[in-house]
């Protein structure tokens, strides 16, 4: 019986030129979003590859030089383009793409694309995820608003019930058709985006399996979104007096829940947990660095010196050996300052990311009013373009920075005995500096980060379906 309803609804849908036109428009928008995203990310991928090659060449060919000078010259950590960034660019444009890994400082990522964007490049934010989040609900509304209300107005609802079909079955059939049409659009979009992503996969650090799991996860998340949108649209169609009223109500819901609340929630989160401005951030970090650095000669400072020397020599020092051991004392001082500095920088960046987390949690609370908010989080997390993916990259870059500076300082410490800052290393040293090979966080990490958002969407879906079959299946629907 459900199959009969589906078949009939699809026949009507096929014969309705307006519905086909609507699907065509959505398809075109998705194609435009996909092409825009893919063009942007392909260009970025090429830029990253070129910049990485240039950076490596400059570092390796810097000639003989003091290792600490080289530590300031240093390397760049380039954030690889997430394969699904063409699907959902997320907040990647606002968080920077390259981290300068220099001695003494943990730098934030540079080259935020949003900063460089001219006015007309707003189209860059036009993405498949944006179309699916904004336009797909509109498609569901326009296809589904009259599902029950029009049947009632036309009088066919009475006849259907008189023919022997139960209202819950009718609702289920309608639900499957509307959700099925939307899901077909979604599936096509995710499939094409995933296939496109294969082209950027090799340089991204993601595995094919990981990419496919991410694609599947996106289908699940957006699928739940479709479920709750369809159920809400059908519920409104059963409860309001006419198809026209159903359309007006659903357009209102779309404006508030899909367009308005997600933007409002971001503003509220920023108001409640403001992101620190750059000047204040660095002032506080420097103050913390000064306050927490142990003075030379203090017990804590000596302990750090011992730790650094033992690590460089690869053995434990005997009692009193620290003062006698033949090392470059200037290099020791530099490496100790790295340890104290790293602690202060890590605390500052931890607090920065914790603030982003607090903003995200607050937005999550507001997602009880709009599933779109939960979907946005979930989508960019699965696409690897959210704040947590950036934090993962930032931590990896910081670890790399510590390794590079340590290798250079230890070389000076061991091989520059008696030469203080006049020591110069041979070119071979630059080859021994470890290369930054970033492995992005796995899909399991993304699942963990977005579990709450998935549960919120699931809850929305379950409640919307329960409400549909609880309130939409009563005799009052016939009124």
């Amino acid at each position: 019986m459900i199959g009969t309803i589906i078949q009939k609804e699809l026949t009507e849908f096929r014969r309705d030129g307006r519905a086909i036109g609507l699907l065509g428009i959505v398809g075109l928008l998705l194609l435009l979003g996909l092409m825009t995203g893919f063009a942007n990310e392909s260009a970025r991928k090429q830029n990253v590859q070129k910049a990485m090659a240039d950076d490596a060449a400059v570092f390796l060919e810097q000639g003989i030089k003091n290792p600490h000078a080289a530590a300031h010259f240093s390397r760049m950590a380039h954030k690889p383009v997430a394969p699904l960034a063409a699907f959902d660019p997320g907040v990647a444009s606002y968080l920077g793409q390259v981290i300068w890994m220099e001695a003494h400082y943990r730098n934030p990522a540079m080259f935020r694309r949003a900063e460089d964007a001219p006015e007309l490049s707003r189209l860059e934010n036009f993405s498949v995820a944006g179309v699916l989040t904004l336009i797909l609900p509109l498609l569901v509304v326009l296809v589904g608003y009259g599902s029950i209300a029009s049947e009632r107005e036309r009088g066919t609802l009475r006849q259907l019930l008189g023919a022997g079909i139960s209202l819950p079955r009718l609702l289920l059939g309608k639900f499957l058709v509307i959700a099925g049409v939307a899901f077909t659009v979604l599936f096509s979009a995710v499939l094409v985006a995933t296939l496109f992503s294969l082209q950027t996969l090799s340089e991204s650090g993601y595995s094919l399996f990981d990419l496919l799991l991410r694609g599947g996860s996106l289908l699940l998340g957006y699928g739940l979104y479709i479920v709750c949108l369809t159920a809400i649209t059908l519920l409104v169609s059963t409860l309001v007096s006419s198809a026209r009223s159903a359309l007006l109500v659903m357009l209102g819901v779309w404006v508030v829940a899909v367009v308005g609340l997600p933007r409002l929630s971001a503003s509220i989160a920023e108001q409640v947990y403001p992101s620190p401005d750059a000047v204040k951030f660095w002032q506080e970090t420097r103050a913390s660095l000064q306050a927490n650095s142990p003075p030379p000669g203090s017990e804590d400072y000596t302990m750090l010196e011992r730790q650094v020397v033992e690590r460089a020599l690869g053995r434990e020092l005997r009692e009193g050996e620290l003062q006698e051991v033949a090392i470059n004392r200037g290099a020791l001082m530099l490496e100790v300052s790295e340890l104290t500095g790293a602690k202060a920088y890590n605390a500052a960046f931890d607090e920065l990311f914790a603030n982003y987390d607090r903003q995200r949690h607050l937005r999550r609370l507001l997602s009880v009013l709009s599933p779109t908010i939960a979907l946005q989080h979930l989508s960019r997390t699965y696409a690897g373009t959210d704040v947590s993916a950036h934090e993962h990259f930032s931590l990896a870059a910081e670890e790399q920075r510590n390794n590079i500076v340590r290798v250079l300082n230890e070389d000076m410490m061991i091989n520059g005995v008696g030469q203080s800052f006049g020591y110069v290393a041979s070119e071979d040293l630059w080859d021994s500096v470890p290369i930054f090979e970033y492995r992005p966080a796995s899909v399991a990490y993304a699942w963990g980060e977005s579990l709450v958002d998935l549960l919120v969407l699931l809850l929305w879906g379950v409640l919307a379906i329960a409400a549909l079959f609880r309130f939409g299946s009563t005799r009052s629907v016939l009124r």
């Binding site: 019986m1 009939k8 009507e12 009088g155 259907l160 022997g164 016939l478």
Partner: protein, 246 residues
């Protein structure tokens, strides 16, 4: 004879009025009962209660022994129904509409030849059956509605003003079809304003007024004028009906 439709003290009250007041009525197999009355007399309410579209305030409606309120789906499966305005899907043809309703009625794989024969039976020829319903007249829609009801193969038919808006020739055809069905054993309960048609096809005529069944008549024993007089006597102070009758 088997009572296929039965109302026992069937009552439906709304907030400010009683639409149906303790109706006792039965329709046997092979019998046509017509309910006559003004708008708001309770005819459609009676049909809606048999169909389970409304919940009775008290009393009960039975279809072939099944109490409607307690087993709605079982009761509906035993009923054919033709409303005053047969509503169909305009983008589908008459045949496709019939096929859809028949499948929803529980026949999962109806043969096309059988469906076409049903449409033939109600007077909708081959050409019309394949046309989109958006091009149908009201009479043609009513015929599809009757074919839908017939396709269920039920022993009880409910008709709510099915003749309204039909031209005389279509109404004639419709009535003779109903008579044939009754002769084959179907119980028919029809709400109508049309005294003439009621007299022509009914075995019994129930006159309803303000939610009550005020009289049951056997039309065989009355001529048209006598029926009209009795009817108007009951409707004495009901101007709207007088206008309808005139």
């Amino acid at each position: 004879m088997n009572e296929l439709l039965r109302a026992e003290k069937l009552t439906k009250a709304f907030r400010n009025s009683t639409a149906l007041n303790a109706l006792d009525l039965s329709v046997k197999a092979a019998e046509i009962v017509c309910l006559l009355g003004a708008n708001g007399a309770g005819k459609t309410t009676t049909i809606n209660l048999f169909l389970g579209f409304l919940e009775p305030t008290s009393g009960a409606a039975y279809v072939d022994g099944v109490e409607v309120h307690s087993d709605l789906n079982a009761a509906r499966s035993k009923l054919g129904y033709v409303p005053e305005q047969v509503s169909l899907y305009p983008a589908l043809s008459g045949l496709e509409n019939l096929d859809y309703f028949v499948r929803l009625g529980g026949n999962s794989n109806p043969e096309e030849t059988w469906l076409r024969s049903l449409l033939d039976q109600v007077g909708l020829g081959q050409g019309a059956a394949d046309n989109k319903v958006s091009s149908y007249s009201k009479g043609m829609r009513q015929k599809v509605g009757l074919a839908i009801a017939l396709a269920k193969g039920t022993q009880a038919l409910l008709l709510d003003e099915p003749l309204s808006g039909l031209d005389p020739s279509a109404a004639n055809e419709f009535c003779s079809l109903l008579r044939d069905l009754a002769n084959d054993g179907t119980a028919v309960l029809m709400a109508t304003h049309d005294l003439f048609r009621a007299k022509e096809i009914a075995d019994r005529i129930g006159i309803m007024k303000a939610g009550s069944l005020v009289e049951i008549l056997a039309p065989d024993t009355l001529n048209q004028a006598a029926l009209e007089q009795i009817y108007l006597k009951h409707m004495h102070d009901d101007t709207s009906l007088e206008e309808t009758v005139q």
